[in-house]
Amino acid sequence: MESNYIVEMKGISKRFGSVQALNQVDLELREGEILGLVGDNAAGKSTLMKILSGAHVADSGQILINGEEVSIRDPRDARACGIEMIYQDLALCNNLDVARNIFLGREYTRGLPFLSILDKKKMYAESAELLARLRINISSPRLKVERMSGGQRQMVAAAKAIAFDAKILLMDEPTAALGVREANTLLRLIRDLRDSGHSVVLITQRVPDILAIGDRVMVLKGGRRQGVLNVSEVGLDDVVELIVRGRAGAESEEDALEYLSFG
């Protein structure tokens, strides 16, 4: 058994009613790499990640973490394996400040067991330290999330995930709603996370993003894996070709052109 993979998913299948969302899909994630997960809408990217994060349970297939088979049946199981999904719709409370969001449900407290008093000093200090370590440009951990930009919110969501020992980060279209500058800042953060030893699966529609910061890119189409490419060896055209045509190559040239103009 290969042990240099931190995550292996083998033969994952998932059916929603009459729709076969995933059909015998494999995925391998190495330690300390950014794996891009690309494909058209309904290719099964989000479903595959939701299975890994415990939001869905696969109909069949295995999940191995560091070579050992694990059972992930809900988000808590996934968290115990060090897997954290950063959702597209942002799992932050906009009315709370940065530190309270990062520590939500895991606050430092002291005193009474039934009415635990927040250790705010410690929470603010550690949040500030975390933001600095991740080079996240937010003036204070006391800033409320509602006063922050979309990119800053994504970065707080990422900080929240890794604050508690998540080793494997799953990000679903984190740059989708961001402007170019903000998207670039976020991509830099993702790369920093990789460089500090985290493993990242990045679902994205923007192939150029993954070519800029990713190590490998996996293509899904119609719930099947079409292939895995090394980013250093391929160009945009190769990836798009695989997304649009799949292995067999069935669809028209226009589709490919349309996709290219998106990127």
Binding site: A91, N95, L96, L104, G105, L115, E146, N184, T185
Partner: protein, 344 residues
């Protein structure tokens, strides 16, 4: 990582990854004016209270007399305690329309059990209020009934129950010390006013300094995110209904003690006053936003206005009109602010 200029940083230059200056959300005026505006909105009740107090002291005859201050503070404090409970509930994105009915029930339970001794009876009255809150919390979180419908239904049921157990009559206090809580005095403040300020301070401390307070803000702000963070959203939400019920219970007991009798029909205008004061105090009808000290100021503002109108001899009907106009304008501004927040 910053002091490690290896390939990643080179590619930063190549792919144009640049630092992005922080900016405020769309819709807010930038910088100092934006902060001032937000501060004014958050603490609007204090500004309004200051204006109303200034006017009343200068222009309303008999307002600044010891007797009037004592009476006025006691009067607004009983409804004010309910406002504090509603603040917690509304921050968690709920509401209780039946606080007036709960107030009446608690008073009747208190009066009916007075032969057990006033302390025990008071406790039973307060527990009756908390019990109504528990039922509301259960119906809303476990049976998944919308909180407007749920609290409206329990309000009707509680009203019926109150008339049944009181046999439709006012129950007079005869036990030793029945009226003590309503009339004991320290300086110019009577016990209800002291209780109001104390409950305000304690609740404010809970909301700002404890994890439970943070959880109430969290579920009101984004219950999905709170659930994902591992919070027991249903339990936390249900607890906020219990707090509102508890406060209504305390208010009911204080009201009965003050009147030295429990009238099953009291509390018809309570919800209107309490919700108005809470919203004036900066609590949003849309959850997640609000603060207890603001609610305290909101209560005092409405109390000063009501008292001044009485002293000026304005008829009760005009007072209703004025109170309705105040509530509508506050709700409209809340809806407007909420739209701004969501689009930000």
């Amino acid at each position: 990582m910053a002091e490690n200029p290896t390939p990643p940083d080179q590619s930063t230059a190549e792919s144009g990854l640049v630092e992005e200056p922080p900016r405020g959300p769309a819709g807010w005026p930038a910088g100092r004016w934006g902060n001032l505006l937000q501060w004014l909105i958050e603490y609007r009740a204090f500004v309004l209270l200051g204006l109303a107090l200034t006017y009343a002291v200068l222009f309303v005859p008999f307002f600044a007399t010891e007797r009037n201050i004592t009476q006025m503070t006691t009067q607004f404090s009983i409804d004010g305690i309910i406002s504090i409970g509603l603040t917690v509930l509304m921050i968690a994105w709920g509401i209780d329309l039946g606080v007036g009915a709960t107030l009446a029930l608690a008073g009747v339970v208190f009066a009916l059990s007075q032969d057990l001794g006033v302390p025990v009876a008071a406790l039973l009255g307060i527990l009756a209020g908390a019990g109504v809150g528990l039922v509301n919390g259960f119906v809303v979180t476990k049976m998944r009934v919308n909180f407007f419908i749920a609290t409206l239904s329990t309000m009707v049921a509680v009203k019926g129950l109150t008339f049944i157990i009181s046999d439709e009559t006012t129950i007079y206090g005869h036990a030793e010390g029945f009226g003590w809580m309503g009339s004991a005095k320290l300086g110019i403040f009577e016990f209800p006013a002291l209780a109001f300020f104390a409950i305000g301070i304690i609740t404010n401390w809970v909301m700002t300094q404890t994890s439970l307070g943070t959880y109430w803000y969290a579920i009101g702000g984004n219950s999905d995110a709170s659930h994902r963070a591992g919070l027991n959203v249903n339990l936390i939400f249900a607890l906020s209904f219990v707090v509102a019920g508890l406060c209504s219970g305390i208010a009911g007991v204080l009201l009965a003690s003050r009147a030295v009798s429990a009238n099953p029909g009291v509390g018809r205008d309570t919800a209107l006053f309490a919700i108005s004061a809470t919203v004036i105090g900066g609590t949003s009808l849309f959850g997640g936003v609000g603060n207890v000290l603001g609610a305290v100021a909101g209560v005092m503002f409405l109390g000063v206005v009501r008292n001044s109108l009485n002293l000026l001899g304005v008829s009760a009907y005009w007072q209703w009109v004025i109170q309705g106009v105040i509530l509508v304008s506050v709700v409209v501004s809340d809806v407007y602010m909420n739209r701004r927040r969501r689009t930000a």
